[in-house]
Amino acid sequence: MQISARRVDKTTIFDVSGDIDLANSPEIRKALLREVKENRTPKVVMNLSKVRYIDSSGVASLVEGLKASRDAGSRFILYGLSPSAREVLQLSRLLKIFEVYDNEEQAMAA
């Protein structure tokens, strides 16, 4: 798994590639919480278009990001879900809880 950040105006976009599982979900969590809580970025966007698989610990990290951003009054957005990532959020009944878009254009315009 690789994660890197881009800044566009007041938005931070995290580009993630590879699978998100127990081996690396703590890293995702840390990056998200730092951005939301410490940097207080008003809009955080996760580009998941190169993520094939997300396990339950990965979902938990995303939920932590979402909760932190709600606490901070900022926004937390996902885009580019693979079939597997979409399924896992559906199974967790979280697909409608997250703000999810198809691509970066929509996520930035939102």
Binding site: A23, S56, A60, V63, K67, E87, L91
Partner: protein, 152 residues
């Protein structure tokens, strides 16, 4: 080895190896004849079960043994296309309290407590037992899935 054994695997309780098992399961389920969504969901169930062993049975230790056995099984009474993929996962951690082995309700938005849900939603049979000093989780998915059966 019996004819119906498809694959036997041993690994350490190291999360870095989870993707290796997924790589094998993605192909094994495909070869077995599952639909693409079923391939993904069986792979997910195995991945989550291994994650639970690493976290709960072994408390995050990286060097403990995990065994995995994949076999073809026949549904009884034998039906047309009635065979399934059975996956046995074994670990040498302390005995699991079956009362703790339950997923939480999903109506609250909070991290954690999802793994068992994914496993039960994916598989036709989910059975846990303690035997010979080992925990064994038995997962079965049939080619033409009957109704969900996840109270075991």
């Amino acid at each position: 080895m019996s004819q119906d054994l498809l694959l036997k695997l041993e690994l350490h309780s190291n999360p870095n190896l989870l993707c290796v098992v997924r790589g094998a399961m993605e192909r094994l389920t495909e070869v077995f004849g599952f639909s693409a969504p079923d391939c993904r969901s069986v792979t997910r169930a195995v991945d989550e079960a291994l994650t639970n062993i690493m976290r709960h049975s072994y408390g995050g230790r990286l060097d403990r043994p995990i065994g995995m056995l994949c076999r073809r099984v026949q549904k009884r009474p034998a039906a047309a296309r009635g065979h399934g993929l059975e996956i046995l996962l074994r670990d040498r951690g302390p005995a699991v309290d079956p009362a703790k082995l339950r997923g939480r309700l999903l109506d609250e938005i909070k991290p954690g407590g999802l793994g068992l849900h994914f496993i039960c939603q994916s598989m036709d049979t989910v059975e846990f037992k303690r035997m010979r000093g080992m925990n064994q989780l038995r997962l079965v998915k049939y080619l033409q899935p009957p109704k969900q059966n996840c109270n075991s």
